[in-house]
Structures are given as C-alpha cells and as structure tokens.
C-alpha cells in the first residue's frame, strides 16, 4: 500500500526533526505541566462545610469525626437541621452542607459486609462558586468511598446540579487540557504536508501514480503514532498530578484517539487549502483557539451563554471534553457517552473525506 510508505516516510521526517518533535510533544506538555503545577499540588486552603446528621448512628458519627474531618481541605461544622445549615450557607459561613440521611450507617455497614450499598447524600452548596463546590463534592466522595471501602462512585444528590461523583480541580481540568493538546495537532498535522508543498517535494510525489486518498491517509497515519504517544504521556502526567480515573481508561483513550483523528483530519483540510506554512499556521490557530474556548477545555461550558454552548456543540471537541470528563470523573460507561463518540467519529470521517476531496481538487488545479 502506497499510503503506508508515505506514512513511514512522514513518521521518519517527524521523528528525526527535533524541532518538529519538540513542538508536537513539548508544547502541550508544557500546558499540562503548568496546569498540573498550578492545580495539582498540595495546598493549605480549606473549606468549611456543614454536616446534618439525620442518621445519628455510631457509623455516621464515625464518618463525620474520622472520615470527613481528616480531609485536609475540609473543616467541619455540624448542624441539627437543614434550615440552620442553610442559614449558615446563606451567611457565607460555610461553603456547602451535606445531609447524611437515615439509613446511611446501614448502607455503609452493607458495604463493609461486601454487599451492594445504595449510598445517597444530599449536598447543598453555594452555586456562585462552581469550582469550590466541585472540589468539595470530590473530597466528600473520596472520603465516603474510602470510609465505606467501596470502589464504585457514590451518589451525591445536589440541590442545583446532578454531579454524581468526585471532581477535583485536576480531574476537571486534565481531560480539557488533553483535548487541548490534541487540538494543537491541527497545525502540527498540517505542517508536514504544507512544508512538502513549499519545498516542492509534493511536486515530486504528485508525479507518482499515488491516489489522493493515499496521500491523505499517508500523512494522517504518521500523525496517529504521535497522537497515541501524546495521549499516553498526557494521561500519565495527569494521573501523576492527581487525576483520578474513575471510569474505563480504554474508553477515555478511545475518546482521545478519535479526537486526535478529528484534529489530524482538520489539519489535512488546512494543508490541502494552504500553499505555504505562512498561510497554514494562522489558519490553524484561527481554527484551534476559538474551538478550545468554545469546547470548554479550560473552563466549564456551564458558565457560558447558551448560544456559545450551542456553537460549541457543533464541533467535536466539546463532545470530546464532556465525554472524557464523564468517563474520567463520573465513571460513565460506553452507553452513556456513545452519542458523543458517534459525533466525534462522524466528524473525523467527514473531515477526512473533505481533506481528500480538497486535495484532489487542488491536485487537478
């Protein structure tokens, strides 16, 4: 197959060019390191949360005094009723309060006895600060799981949003940064082909009886190797910085991989349209940076206006970010993220075909 020969050649070109390789790996890596250092390290801050213990059993008391109290970022204040805790929340004395329902201790005991527990907690939080609330949810979730000695995520019923699992800052930000790293593959994928055009090497290749699809597949396939390496590095780094992968790692990998295919295919479109690196570079960044913002790689899309969210939904990256977060943070299974995966895959296929069509058109022109 001709495309494999092209792919091997392109991989060699990339692998042997320290600058290109450095850009491919180091640039997104730098982002990950910065965010990791900024968000993944130990901090001295703590949030005061309220606890309303309706169970009033030894187990629930033990949970409050031992499990919750030992979480470094939490300070605990106990309340007799929801109303008192709610007042305290409104006054800003506490950031959130948790309600341990009747039967809580019984469910925990079930868990200790290797039975299936149904642990449901009610959490009311200050919705003005989503980041803080997500950290609190994460901390509570982890402490309950450790206390109950269970691996599955527990259910935390919140008053405003249905977050059902732990969310640390790193858990939230890492999938987005990985997607951002894969978004950067748009310019890097376009680079090799555009450089071949600029140097005239493409003219030599075009004089061989190679089909347009073989060109696109050949240039794309070489980048897939880079993509796989990138994804592995990103995941390892994110875990090192404290990302907790609740769901299936292979499912998360699939989402990242399909996203990379999308980026590579979009890169091929840019490469087919551009005559030089000077044309391709700005075009790539014009595509990549707005998509990064629209897709919520750095910030939650929930804080964005609806029309911005709608615009983001038109592209694969927002689906990739949300699906990756669902799998990594909430432990979502394939069925829960299948719609997103299908959208990303369709995008990848359409972009790939568009790249071939444009390349073929440009070849003839």
């Amino acid at each position: 197959m001709r495309f494999t020969k092209l792919a091997i050649r392109n991989a060699r070109e990339t692998y042997r060019d320290p600058l290109a390789l450095g850009f491919l790996i180091a640039f997104p890596l730098l982002f990950m390191l910065l965010f990791g250092a900024a968000l993944g390290g130990n901090s001295d801050f703590s949030y005061t949360i309220g606890v309303v213990d309706k169970d009033k059993t030894g187990v629930s008391e033990q949970f409050v005094t031992q499990a919750l109290d030992s979480v470094p970022i939490l300070s605990i204040a106990t309340f007799e009723t929801d109303t008192l805790a709610g007042d305290s929340l409104k006054n800003g004395d506490i950031k959130a309060f948790i309600v341990l329902p009747s039967g809580f201790g019984e469910e925990i005991t079930k868990s200790w006895q290797q039975e299936n527990p149904d642990i449901v907690l009610d959490l009311v939080y200050d919705e003005s600060d989503l980041t803080v609330s997500s950290q609190i949810i994460s901390a509570i979730n982890i402490s309950v799981r450790e206390f109950a000695n269970i691996k599955i995520p527990i259910t935390i019923r919140t008053s405003h949003i249905n977050v059902e699992t732990e969310v640390s800052q790193m858990d939230f930000i890492a999938p987005g940064i990985i997607i951002f790293g894969l978004l950067i593959m748009v310019p890097t994928s376009a680079r090799i082909m555009v450089r071949d055009k600029e140097t005239g090497f493409m003219a030599r290749l075009l004089a061989t009886p190679t089909y347009p699809w073989e060109f696109i597949a050949g240039y794309s396939a070489s980048m897939l190797v880079v993509a796989i390496v990138q994804i592995i590095i990103f995941i390892l780094l994110a875990v090192a910085f404290g990302m907790n992968v609740v769901g299936s790692l292979s499912l998360a990998f699939l989402i990242f991989f399909l996203t990379a295919v999308c980026s590579i295919s979009i890169g091929m479109i840019v490469a087919a349209l551009s005559k030089s690196e000077n044309q391709a570079e700005p075009l790539c960044w014009i595509i990549a940076m707005p998509l990064a913002v629209l897709s919520g790689v750095w910030f939650s899309r929930e804080i964005m206006p609806e029309y911005i969210q709608f615009m983001g939904d038109l592209f694969p990256y927002s689906h990739a970010v949300s699906a990756a977060r669902m799998v990594i943070i909430r432990g979502a299974e394939f069925s829960a993220v299948s719609e997103s995966i299908i959208i990303i895959a369709i995008w990848a296929i359409i972009a790939f075909i568009t790249g071939i069509v444009l390349f073929r058109y440009k070849m003839r022109a």
């Binding site: 001709r2 020969k5 092209l6 050649r9 060699r12 070109e13 042997r16 060019d17 140097t199 005239g200 090497f201 003219a203 030599r204 290749l205 004089a207 061989t208 009886p209 190679t210």
Partner: protein
C-alpha cells in the same frame, strides 16, 4: 505511449520520472530511504525497491553516504540523488528541470556525463538556462520565450537559423596596408585585429575568400568559419540582444 494526459493522468505517471527544479528531497531521510520511497510509490515491491535503490546509489557515487540523512549533503550530491529519484523504476520518459542549477563546474560536468550516458535508453526532457548544457546534452532543442516555443530543432539547426551572415576568421602574416585596402574594397564587413582578419557576408564562400586573401600577398596560417554559439542563437531568436 499513447496516453492522454487529461484523461489518463495516472497512466502517464506510471511512465514518467521527474526531478523538479528545486532539489526536493526528504531531508531527514537517507538516500536509500528517499529512493525506496519513490520506488514504492511507483508500485515497485519492497525487495526490488531496495535492490534498485542500492544500485542507483552506487551509480550516483553516493554509496559511502547511503545511510546518512540527506540534509547534510552538498548541493551536488543532492542533485545527483534528485536525478536518481527521477530515474528509479526505469521510467520511459524523464523530466529534468534545471538539473545542474547551482552546481560547481566539476559537479556539473560529472552530471552531464551521466545524463549523456542515458541517451538512447530513454526520452529525457531537460529544461535549462545554460545554453552550453543544452548544446552538450540535447538531440533536439526547443527555445521557449514567454511560455511559447520560439524555435525547435537540433543545435546546428538553431545556430544556422539565427545566422544572418557568415563569418570567416583568418589568421595570417604579412597583411600589408595595400592588402588591407584590397580586402576592404572587396568585402563590406572586415575587422582587423593584428594578424587576425574577420570577414562577414551573407553569401561568403570559404575557398574564394581564402584565395583572395592569399592573392593580396598575405600568408594564411589558419582559416575557419565562425559558428555562432547557441547563446547567440538564443539571443537572436528571442530578440533579447536588442533589449540588452
């Protein structure tokens, strides 16, 4: 070969080899890898491509550097590899665009010798701005001016075509003032530089002219028809000499 380039571009591509004007190589690949790539894209099996590539590397004198990345090569080495890439897989028609551009005289001469050795084996279309290159290598030359063929023929055809008058250069002793007067009386265009006479005319006859010079008492040491160079022919045909 009978292929229509518009309707059968792929068929055309199976019988051609191209060496573009820019020395376009995959810079981080070795000569062998570059050659194997092109051979592979031309449909040659990996084993044959490898053998063929090794043979081409030897022919081009690159065997000592066959595994080095070509970005470290000199211009001459890159040119040779570029031509090898056009020739690999034995295409019937080879396009060489400015194959010796930027090469030193030694490297250029070596490349000419190699290209000349391919004569009779395949059809080579070579574009060049070096007239001596075209003169040395070509069986047929097309002079292209402003994208159009201004003249087409052998080197001699073009030189003759551009010749409005003939010039005989005579080297002689004993050219006296009287002899000069006699020569100027008979021929309209005469240039004298020491012992050298240059006589031009539309219908100049070699024997008649040398006999006349001899009759003036001059002793002829050598005489020859001056042939215009291809460069002069080019300038005449394209009219560029007027602009200059």
């Amino acid at each position: 070969m009978g292929f229509d380039i518009n309707r059968e571009p792929r068929s055309v591509k199976t019988v051609i080899g191209v060496s573009p004007q820019e020395t376009t190589l995959s810079e981080h690949l070795s000569p062998l890898e570059n050659l194997e790539l092109i051979a592979g894209l031309r449909g040659i099996s990996p084993d044959r491509a490898r053998k063929w590539s090794k043979a081409m590397v030897e022919i081009m004198g690159l065997e000592e550097r066959s595994k080095d990345q070509v970005r470290k090569f000199s211009g001459g080495m890159k040119r040779r590899l570029s031509i090898a890439m056009a020739l690999i897989a034995d295409p019937a028609v080879v396009f060489l665009d400015e194959p010796t551009l930027g090469l030193d005289p030694q490297a250029r001469r070596a490349l000419w010798e190699y290209i000349a050795s391919l004569k009779g084996e395949k059809t080579i279309l070579l574009t060049t701005h070096y007239m001596e290159e075209a003169d040395f290598l070509s069986d047929n030359i097309a002079i292209i001016d402003s994208g159009k063929i201004a003249a087409l023929g052998t080197s001699m055809d073009l030189k003759t075509l551009s010749m409005e008058k003939r010039t005989i250069v005579i080297n002689a002793w004993n050219i006296t003032i009287k002899a000069i007067d006699l020569i100027r009386d008979k021929y309209k265009e005469v240039k004298i530089n020491g012992n050298s006479l240059s006589i031009s005319g539309k219908y100049l006859d070699f024997k008649e002219t040398t006999d006349f010079i001899h009759s003036t008492g001059a002793i002829i040491r050598s005489a020859y028809f001056k042939e215009p160079s291809l460069e002069e022919a080019y300038l005449k045909i394209t009219g560029k000499e007027l602009a200059g």
